[in-house]
Structure formats: structure tokens, C-alpha cells
Amino acid sequence: MNITTYYWERIKGHRLAMSGLAFIIFLILLAAIGPFFTVSPTVVNFDEKNLPPIGFSVEQSKFSSEAGSLITTHVRGKWEHPLGTDGMGRDLLSQLISGTRVSLLVGLFATGLAIIIGAMVGVTSAYFGGIIDNILMRFTDIMMTFPFLLLLILIVYMFGSSLTLIILSIGLTGWTGTARLVRSETLSLRTREFIMASKALGASDFRIVFHHLLPNTISSIIVLATLTIPGAILAEAALSFIGLGDPQVASWGNILNAGQNDIQTAWWIAVEPGIMLFLTIISFNFLGEGLRDAFDPKSE
């Protein structure tokens, strides 16, 4: 049996992981094709502000020019805006889809960057050992002692808040765990006889690191990456929530931030991105757990 088929068979039995995976696939589809079917998230329409989602109705007071005073009416959700609108009448569904794009971008690229840096640092450290190991690991320790969010806030505050910069700073600060994991895995791998055997057959250091050490750590890296993605998504959301996100894009954190003031009159603005965040993060976590179980030979 092919090794990929083997792992697929194993993870297929893990129900939570499969539902996580299903939701993640749904998110990816949503982010990829959603924008073609929804209105622009930036269209402002004050006549339809604070519309509730379909199936809900709220009482709203509006100034009526005919009556010349405030009148209170029942407002129902409209099919044009299935998830309602925000305080400026912008469609929430399309905002959430835009937010999905942002979150997935952040999750994938920031994690990718963190994993690449971490794997390089970890494998170099373990393979060469000695003084190189010492320097790299002490640097990792220093990175770990910084409060992660504070560091992010500082970077964004100093250099401005574009999405690219946010991705870069999450990636450049989030590699420490990977570095440690890859280092410890490599340390145990490098004493294995096949590493010595490939050396004895004349393999170069480069070849040993990239053809023998790193591929053997790939299952742990995949698990760790899956579990790092929600952290990156949350970090971006947290930054946006406190107003340090990229103001050009509608991310879940931005919507949450905008919705928190109106939580009493228009609860859905804050609740909807909250639900999306919750589901996304829990899906990645479930998938990560499932992968961990599938890759762990001891869980058989």
C-alpha cells in the first residue's frame, strides 16, 4: 500500500478531523469563488444599515422625513443581505467572505514562513551542533521570551499595518516552536545508522540535511503547521480587533472591532465573524489532532 493511502485510511476514521477538514475545504472554496457571487463588501448604503440576518427581526428607530420625527419600526432580514448589514449598510456576507480570504492568507503564509525558518534553524542547529547549536538555540530562547502579541503590536505600530507586514511579522516571530521541535527530532535522527551510512557512501552535508533529515521530520512538521495556523489567524484577528489591522481589508477582526460598539442594537455584526473565527480555529485544531494521531505509530 502506498504511504499516502495508508495515512489517508488512518485519518478517514477520525471523525472530528474529517469534519475539520470538510470545513476547511468549504472555507477555501468560499474564499476562492465566493466573491464572484456576492456584492462588493465596500458598497455603503445607509438606507439599509443594520439589517438583521434572514429570519431575525429587530426594532429600530429611524428618522422619518414624512413624520418629521423618529419612528420605531420592525426591521426584517432581506434576502439581498442574508447575513445582514453593518452600521453603514455594507453586506456582511461579502465582508465575511473577504475576511475568510484574509484569514486563510495569513494562516497559510505566516505559518509557511514560520515553518520554513523554524525548520532551517532547527535542522542546522542539530546537525552541526556545538557552537552553532548554542548560538541558534539561545537566539530562539530570546525570541521565545518576548511576549508574542506585544512584539507584534510594536512592529505594526512602528512600521504601519499592511496585510503583508502583518503576515511577515507573524511569520518572523512564530518560528521558535518549530525550531525546537525540528531540532529535537533531528538530534534523535542523526544518530540513526542510515545517516552515518549515507555519510559513509559519500553524501554531502546538504544532501543529508535535505534528503534524509528533513523528510523524516515532515510528519511532525505537518502536524505542527496545522496547529500553528489557528494561532496565526487569531493573532491577525487580535491585531485587527484592537484596531491595528490593515484598514484596507475587511478581516474578521476588523468586523468584530467595528461591531463591538453596536453589540446591543446589532449583535450579529460582532457575532458572525466570531462564529467564523471559532469554527475555523477549531477545525484546524481538530485536523491537527487527527493528523497527529494518524502519524503517530503508537496510536495504532
Partner: protein, 321 residues
Amino acid sequence: MESILSVENLKTYFFTKKGTVKAVDDISFDLRKGELLCIVGESGSGKTVTALSILRLIESPGKIIDGRIILNGRDLPGLSPGQMQDVRGNKIAMVFQDPHSSLNPIFTIGYQVDEAITAHKSVNENETTSKSIELLELVGIPMAKERYHDYSHQFSGGMKQRVVIAMALACHPEVLIADEPTTALDLTVQAQILDLFLELRNKFFMSIIYITHDLAVVSEIADSIVVMYAGRIVEKGSREDIMSNPLHPYTKGLIRCLPSDHGEIVPIPGTIPNLINLPQGCVFHPRCIHSMEICRKKRPSLNMVKEAHYVSCFLYGDNHE
């Protein structure tokens, strides 16, 4: 016959926190073309360190502190790391003890044999594949073409060791070092692997250093024998000399440990000494039944007692360092 590999006064020490471990202490031997040389000794006698020193694969805190290793007139310790990398696998290849861990579990064995070929030669993919299959057939893997795509866990121990040998043969090395290649295998498989080594020697006139602690194996295959004890050579000579006319008390003791039709198994009393704290004089004297006054004081040198038969013992002449 000309000598292809000469080890001269090799000293490899390990500098540990507890003290200096003299794992290999001043050993010399020659390997001739087409010769199968066996290095025999107990665990910790420095056999593997000798092999790794030849390939310069000694890792910190170990270090080759003295000696020359001459392969076809080239002094290996004097080569740059890049040149040395080209010697490994290409001129000298090594087969390790445990076939279960000598193969990378996540690649097919075909990929790994390919890798051993392309490490030193740039050949196109098709050629490499057919060469690999040829090698696998050579070492006796049935249905090599199909098994090329299998992973190491789909092979039995003996088959894995054949794959490892195929990898070692990939670049037609002049010297093959086998470090206890049959220790992890069961007896019937062991005999097959031994046959394979003999076949390689006879077919390709390959020079082989075979490291083992098993005298029964040695008596089957060796052309010449080097007996090591505590990092030193106590006796070396041809198979006939060593097996039928052993001189050193340690060699005699080893042979008495072999089960035979006549006589009982007589173990050698005591254990191998701590390499950090070696006894004064002859390293074997605390376990030696012929121990004399001089053995406690002076270290015997390796002397020729007859043509190509050397022994390091005061019972045979009184030379010392």
C-alpha cells in the same frame, strides 16, 4: 601482492569529560588487493573506531591524533573534507551492523541505491535505474525490478543487508569495510551473506575488511586476521597461522571459547579493561594466565615471529617499547 590500503600507527582518542579514551592506540596493518582481512576482537576493542577512522567519520569528542592511512599512495588524513567525501563510497565503502536502521525508512530502496550511484557520478535517470536493478540482482534480491519500488520495512533483515551491500557496491569501491554485517541476522541468513562477501571478493577481486567478534565466521572466510584487544593489535597473521597456531594468550583464549568436538569451552577470565584507565605494561596482563613480571611493567611491541605472523607478547622475544 601489492597493498591497497595501509594503516600506519593509527591513534584515535576520544576526549571525554572523564578522561581520554584510547579507543585505537597505535595500530598498523596492510590490506592487499583482493584480500579479505578480518579484524577480530571483543566489544570495545576498537574495531569499529578503526573502520570509522579509515573513512574519517570519527565524530567529536573523538579525534584521529596520529597515524597515516594510505589508500593507493594517497594519505587520507591529509585530504580536504571535499576530497575525503569523494573517497567515501567511491573508493572505500562501508556496510554497517544493523540493516534495520541503515536504510532510510521513508524512501524506496531503489531511490536509495540510485542515490548511492549519483552521489559520485552524474548519470541520467534511466541509466541509474537500470544500474540499481543490476546491483540489486547482483547481491541476490529476487525480482529486483519489482522490489526496486518497495520500502525498507517490506524487506527481511537479510534482504535489507543485501540492499545495503548493493548501495556500498554502487560505485565499485576498491575497499569494502563491513562492520559486523551479520551480527543482527540469524544464522542461516548469516551464511548467505558471508557467501555473498566471498563471491564479491572472488568475482571482482575486491579488498574487504570484515569486522567481527565471531571467530567461527573468521575461520570460514578470512585470508588474514588481525586480533585486537583494548585498542591495540595483539596478533596478526594469515588465517592458518592464527587459527591453527595461535601465539598470543588472548588469541588462544578466544579460540578456546569456540565450541568444538573436543574439549570444553573455556572462557577468558575477567573483562576488557576500562579504556580510560588502562593497566600498565601489557594491557592484557590482568587476564593473562602466563603473566610475568615484565608484563606488568613494559608494553610489548608487535614483533614478527615468522613470515607475516606478528604477535605482541613477551613470551615470544623480549622486545618492548
